[in-house]
């Protein structure tokens, strides 16, 4: 038997007192699609950083094609043929797509632009090579990351949560791509928490828990719940049953909203009508880049409507069209943005101070002075009820893993006891344990009479939580579908239907 493409022997890495990886052994065969499974904080990201040369192991060996490997920088890894698609993208926002690619792939821009288009068409990774990255949605940015990696012809491709923002159709096409690549001799390290996907595409899975390898299995031989149990160490609770829909008051209503954002590259919204009643969850489905961020900015109040009298945004039966975000929150509106770091939380500040961002009205501030004891108590309560994995409430928000920070932010907004909650991408990049918890809480809040609007690119998620679904495509919103009477494929058709303006 030939040596595996990549093997790790007894690799350990600690940050201070935290053992991110302990005695990890891993063998990645060539032609293999190899899954790394694990909860948030299980050490997946650290492991990938070691393999990609971003960090060095404290002890242990990394072997590449049977030879000992010493990586000092990602450049070394790239030269050997190790490519990585990051979960938190490593793109340059002020540069165009083709410029981003040309920083990694040699060649002139015209030629590269054509290769990007060809590769995009082949693998369902459509993206305009001349677009500036800052105008792209999260999903489109991920496509750019993947394209950039594929153009370097890697021998080993590391994909960190690659399907988290792709529509179902693109996931299948991506899987075809990955299978093709594997058949061509490229090995793939596939980090995901989506167990069904791992079962569909991976031939081997290494399961990490608390920094240690707890299992090596062929995922095709186990069902999803068995894998989940291995991953989190206990059974996954079943989804919470939703109470029948009670028709409460309209807590959110958008009437005939047309909006063109200042940014000329953004998607114009056309004739958006929607309403969310108390005790109801409305899901907005759609492939990213179809107007989600524009719609979100209008509802949160970050962008304000201008122009015609007929368009209105109503919250709790009040006209809020011209109210700023703070005034809307004052009416009982709470909002969890898509971007956790920067919009949902200040990365450099402690969790306590991040509580103050939106919860200051809950008695955390008096006479303009911060009441540190109350703020600390609020943060502590949020950490406890949400099961946020953090040393304490003084930890910086930026130091938490994505899933843990999301749990904290959602918890913070829920503790405000909102009448209307708007969550944009509730579980993006969040593992199964945390995602299940978040969805259960959304349903529980709905059962208590809150009106909830959820924008998500994960159709499964919307089918799990929503009472009704509408699809956003090319800036237009579809009719309302009752979730229980609708099949995911019907929604999928609306997601990919070509609009009048491409």
């Amino acid at each position: 038997m030939t040596a595996p493409l990549l093997s790790l022997r007894d690799v350990s890495k600690s940050y201070g007192q935290v053992h991110a990886n302990r005695g990890v052994n891993l063998d990645v065969a060539s032609h293999s699609i190899h899954a790394i499974l694990g909860e948030n904080g299980a050490g997946k990201s650290t492991l990938m950083k070691l393999i990609y040369g971003v960090e060095k192991p404290d002890s242990g060996q990394i072997m590449w094609q049977g030879k000992q490997l010493h990586l000092n920088a990602p450049g070394d890894a790239r030269q050997l043929g190790i490519g990585m698609v990051f979960q938190h993208f490593s793109l340059f926002e002020t540069l165009t797509v083709v410029e981003n690619v040309s920083l990694v792939v040699p060649g002139d821009k015209k030629d590269l632009a054509q290769r990007i288009t060809v590769l995009g068409a082949e693998f369902g990774l459509d993206v305009d090579p001349m677009a500036h990255v800052h105008t792209l949605s999260v999903g489109e940015r991920q496509r750019v990351e993947i394209i950039r990696c594929l153009l370097t012809n890697p021998k080993l491709l590391i994909l960190d949560e690659p399907t988290s923002v792709l529509p179902p159709q693109s996931v299948n096409r991506l899987f075809e791509t990955l299978r093709k690549l594997a058949a061509d001799g490229v090995s793939i390290l596939f980090i995901s928490h989506k167990l069904e996907e791992i079962r569909a595409i991976c031939d081997h899975a290494t399961i990490l828990r608390a920094g240690q390898v707890v299992g090596n299995v062929d995922p095709r031989l186990h069902d999803a719940s068995a894998l989940a149990t291995m991953m989190i160490g206990h059974d996954v609770p079943a989804p919470l049953a939703a109470k029948p829909i009670s028709t409460g008051n309209k807590h959110l209503e958008l009437i005939a909203v047309d909006h063109i954002h200042d940014d000329p590259f953004s998607v114009p919204l056309k004739q958006i009508n929607l309403q969310v009643r108390a005790g109801e969850i409305l899901g907005i489905a759609g492939v990213s880049g179809n107007g989600q961020s524009e719609l979100a900015a209008l509802i949160s109040g970050e962008a304000r409507l201008h122009g015609s009298e007929k368009q209105r945004i109503m919250m709790m039966s009040r006209d809020v069209t011209h109210l700023n975000p703070a005034a809307r929150r004052h009416l009982g509106f709470a909002f969890v943005p898509e971007d956790r770091l920067g919009q949902g939380a200040v990365p450099e500040m402690s969790l306590t101070k991040n509580s103050l961002l939106t919860a200051h009205s809950k008695g955390l501030v008096r006479h303009g002075l911060i009441r540190m004891r109350q703020a600390t108590a609020f943060a502590k309560a949020c950490i406890a009820t949400q099961d946020v994995r953090t040393p304490d409430e003084h930890a910086e928000a930026g130091a938490l893993s994505g899933g843990n920070l999301q749990k904290f932010i959602i918890g913070r907004e829920m503790m405000l006891a909102p009448k209307l909650l708007f969550v944009n991408q509730p579980t993006w990049g969040v593992d199964i344990g945390a995602a299940t918890a978040i969805r259960q809480q959304l349903i529980a809040l709905r059962n208590d009479g809150c009106a909830i609007l959820v924008i998500s690119e994960e159709l499964d998620e919307l089918f799990e939580v929503s009472d009704h679904i509408q699809v956003l495509n090319h800036g237009r919103l579809s009719a309302r579908f009752k979730t229980v009477d609708t099949k995911p494929e019907e929604i999928g058709l609306h997601m990919i239907a070509t609009g009048d303006a491409a």
Binding site: P74, G75, F92
Partner: protein, 303 residues
């Protein structure tokens, strides 16, 4: 020679010290490093070049020595701000003061001495056009600064080095993660800034006003820093800004010559006032800033 001809023929030379220093600072800032020591680097370059030229070394040698002086000071800045990861603003200010001090120290025994400037080079035919002809009669450093502007514009628009500088300035972490040596690239950009500031100082002291007086740079380095922001980090705009500044400073002289009863202090402050106003207007355009702003400017980068 009427006023317009006077302004047109002198504008480029007046703009050159600002332009050279601003182009250098532009490159450093594009890479994400805010070096506020421009004034000091210019002052040191001015003193060194003057000493070389005064002692018979020739202008070419003077410019080389000034450039080396500028690079030396900028590398000192880079060592502290990038190597030791000190705060860039504080380091830049301190290094700038050091440069000014060294300039005064070296120039002490040359106070009010003069040297001869550089010959003008005429572009045939063009320089004979009435009114605008004066634009085409300039010394070689002016021509060089125009070439440098065009070259840097081309570099940022079309070359990999330009792209890399922008990438490093916007997101150093990402640049590192795709395998580029962020610190080395930034040190190079800072050194280029020092080189240009040194040359700008040399031009001021040995060509534009070929005499030595302590403190003769007189805030021109600061204006260069402002011009970079005013130009939203774009070469073309920085060039226009430098010309505007040069033009306004000459306009002040013209108005004084006409004998209008405007206080000379007010006229002297005109270029600064206009710069501040234009800065204000530019920075109110969010979209422009988002497209051209430098995300990591002034931030300490740790691997």
């Amino acid at each position: 020679m009427n006023a317009i001809e006077f302004i047109l023929s002198g504008m480029l030379a007046a703009a050159t010290p600002f332009l050279l220093a601003a182009l250098g600072e532009l490159v450093a800032e594009r890479a994400g490093v805010l070096n506020l020591g421009v004034e000091g680097m210019m002052a040191l370059g001015a003193a060194l070049a003057f000493i070389v030229v005064y002692n018979g070394g020739g202008h070419f040698e003077g410019f080389i020595v000034a450039a080396l002086g500028g690079i030396f000071v900028s590398l000192l800045f880079a060592f502290v701000a990038l190597g030791l990861r000190a705060n860039q603003v504080a380091t830049g200010l301190a290094i700038g003061i050091l440069g000014a001090g060294l300039s005064a120290f070296f120039g002490k025994s040359y106070e009010s001495f003069t040297v001869t400037g550089l010959n003008q080079i005429q572009i045939p035919v063009l320089s004979n056009i009435p009114v605008v002809g004066g634009l085409f009669t300039q010394d070689c450093i002016v021509w060089l600064s125009l070439l440098a502007s065009a070259g840097l514009w081309y570099m940022f628009a079309y070359t990999k080095i330009g792209l890399l500088l922008r990438a490093v300035g916007e997101n150093p972490k990402a640049a590192q993660s795709i395998g580029y040596p962020v610190i080395a690239i930034r040190v190079g950009a800072v050194a280029f800034g020092g080189l240009m500031a040194g040359i700008a100082g040399a031009y001021a002291s040995t060509v534009y006003t070929p005499l030595w007086a302590d403190g003769m740079i007189a805030g021109r380095g600061w204006i260069a820093v402002a011009l970079v922001v005013f130009g939203t980090w774009m070469v073309g705009r920085v060039f226009l800004g430098a010309c505007l500044f040069g033009m306004l400073s000459l306009a002040g002289t013209v108005v004084q010559l006409t004998g209008l009863a405007i206080p000379s202090q007010l006229l002297a402050s005109l270029p600064y006032l206009v710069t501040i106003i234009v800065l204000g207007i530019i920075s109110s355009n969010r979209r422009l800033l988002k497209l051209n702003g430098i995300a990591s400017l002034g931030e300490t980068y740790e691997r």
